[in-house]
Subunit: 188 residues, 2 copies
């Protein structure tokens, strides 16, 4: 079984090394880890004229399509939500009808993270109906979830699970225990 | 032709009214606008036991699946990138192989927005190879794009285009001129 390893881990220093460590964890559980950093064995010739960023994206879509499941790092990235590149990949796999498993290394919920963010950007206002809005008047989701409802509902509908674990901030991107729990859930 | 109208507009006060205005613009160009706020004519009976947030997500996925194309508001939302719920929907439609058209109401590029964000969160560092990293050591994309490369490349690969227009901050969520340009591009 091939597992696509989505996540902002690709932005880490030594990203290739971290991909290799994740691959080793996958191998312990009988999965073949596929990294967004992997090259493809044969690339369609028509891609040759495209700029690098388009070739990267098409390769990632093709790699996702070559996998049986996805394991996505949904740890919040530069804002209250997960990395948008990772969310793109989660939804792409979901639309292909294959299971997506997610994990994150902070346990703080989405509503609290959004409130914290909004409080740093002009504050929040409480509406008579109990809802909260940010300084631009935009509603703050209050479903008690870990991130935007599309992500969590998509994972569950795909047959996957979401693993959330509180890990110290300085190890948030490098501690692989939540990842390993997610791999175990995927092979269960 | 049915066009799914993705975007964080659903978080606006009077969101239903804004969906209606967008639908009117679509109608002028012969498109039927479909809003994430729309109800479905017949809901699968097995959804009845699910919590509201899961029913919303399944309904949105089903509505996307019922549309011929998507028009997505990719204006940055609570961070350097687009709303993750919208990005999820863009990727879902892309994986279905149908065209996605995107628009945004600020012209500042992704690299600059990410640098601004990172400067407010501990600063950035310049690497010897010319790349930049945030305070957590995570790479900052420098492809000269409008957002994460998966989004922009996915839109182009789908046959769509991305329309970017600088609109004054106080009208960023309510001025529909960039939306209308995007609708025109979609029917062209």
């Amino acid at each position: 079984m091939r597992a696509y390893l989505a996540g902002p881990d690709i932005f880490l220093p030594d990203a290739a090394q971290w991909a290799e460590r994740k691959r080793e964890v996958c191998a312990q559980y009988g999965l073949t880890g596929v990294s967004p950093l992997d090259s493809m064995s044969d690339t369609p010739p028509e891609w040759a004229v495209l700029p690098e960023w388009r070739r990267i994206a098409l390769r990632n879509e093709a790699l996702i399509g070559s996998c049986d499941l996805m394991i996505a790092n949904l740890t919040p990235f530069r804002g209250p939500s997960a990395d948008v590149g990772t969310v793109y990949e989660v939804a792409f796999m979901r639309a292909l009808g294959r299971p997506v498993f997610g994990y994150a290394t902070t346990a703080t919920g989405f509503t609290q993270r959004t409130l914290d963010f909004a409080n740093g950007r002009g504050g929040i206002s409480a509406e008579p109906d109990g809802s909260w809005r940010d300084a631009e008047g935009m509603l703050i989701e209050q479903f008690g979830l870990f991130d935007n409802l599309m992500i969590e509902a998509g994972i569950l509908a795909s047959g996957g699970v979401l693993v959330v674990e509180e890990i110290a901030a300085e190890r948030r991107w490098t501690d692989l225990s939540a990842f390993e729990r997610c791999v175990r859930a995927a092979v269960a």
